[in-house]
Amino acid sequence: MFPAITRLAALALFTSAVPCAAVSLGPLEKSGVTDGPAKAFYLSLANPYSTAERFVAEAVGPDDDAPQPRVLVFPSDTILGAGARRQLLVIVKGLAPGERYGFRLCAMRAPRPQETLHARVCSKLVARRLADRG
């Protein structure tokens, strides 16, 4: 049944005719030490498009896409003008004394329906809190 119907479907979209995705993020790796329970990082997000675009950023695990509720991103959803660049503030909370916490901060243009390849760039971040001195 389906093969017959397929002949009617002349074309299937691999990617649609919507504008293609692009994103720029750096640095790709950063680490820092703190003596308190929180550590902040700054990353630079850029819009390579010639038009304003909406970008989203989220923290995921170092080796998987598990959400990281201990990480805050400001802003996590932003609109950048053509060729514009802005800083993202990334804050890790709840660091225990002596803890080393690694994760990735990934940014991508907000996905659109029927867009096939979702391009994202991830920065690997590591925060470490100094151990208490007894």
């Binding site: 049944m1 389906f2 093969p3 017959a4 119907i5 397929t6 002949r7 009617l8 479907a9 002349a10 074309l11 299937a12 979209l13 691999f14 990617t15 649609s16 005719a17 919507v18 293609c20 995705a21 692009a22 994103v23 720029s24 993020l25 750096g26 640095p27 790709l28 790796e29 630079s44 850029a46 390579p48 990735r104 990934c106 329906p113 029927q114 867009e115 096939t116 390849l117 979702h118 391009a119 994202r120 760039v121 991830c122 920065s123 690997k124």
Partner: protein
């Protein structure tokens, strides 16, 4: 004596009026820019059991990478159909394959795959295909994968 004094004055004058260094500095941070240059199109095979970008009339997607400071890894997540006609429930296999000007060469796979860059710029050609022995219903199909640029 006078000649020596004139010489010193001339030297001092030449230093005062001498060339000044003009420096143009750049502070670069490691970064990666991913751009999907061209979208791809999948079409149906004559047998009706495959839709893919390598079928007649299909085109691959093209993607460029520009990195600064580091040689990143480009990872492709396992592809999946993010859009398909309602009511079409046939079993199917979703696959992509890619090559790049820097030497990436991944055969069709339905799993995740990656390539460690060997240069700061690269261009990928990405093909996709969906196979179903039961055929396809009429409508739009979108094969989706997430491409990630990162430093391992």
């Amino acid at each position: 004596m006078h000649r020596a004094v004139f010489g010193l004055v001339a030297l001092a004058a030449s230093q005062a009026a001498g060339a000044t260094d003009v420096n143009l500095n750049a502070l670069l941070i490691s970064s990666c820019t991913l751009t999907l240059a061209t979208p791809g199109v999948m079409t149906a095979s004559p047998t009706g059991t495959v839709i893919g970008s390598e079928q007649s009339g299909g085109t691959p997607a093209s993607m460029t990478i520009v990195s600064l400071g580091v040689l990143p890894t480009i990872s492709f997540a396992a592809p999946s159909l993010s859009a398909k006609p309602g009511g079409w429930t046939a079993s199917h296999t979703d696959e992509i394959k890619f090559t790049s000007t820097r030497g990436a060469n991944q055969a069709y796979t339905n799993s995740s795959s990656s390539f460690v860059e060997t240069g700061l710029t690269d261009t990928f050609t990405v093909h996709g295909r969906v196979t179903s022995a039961e055929g396809f219903a009429a409508g739009n199909y979108t094969l989706t994968t997430v491409v990630t640029c990162s430093q391992l």
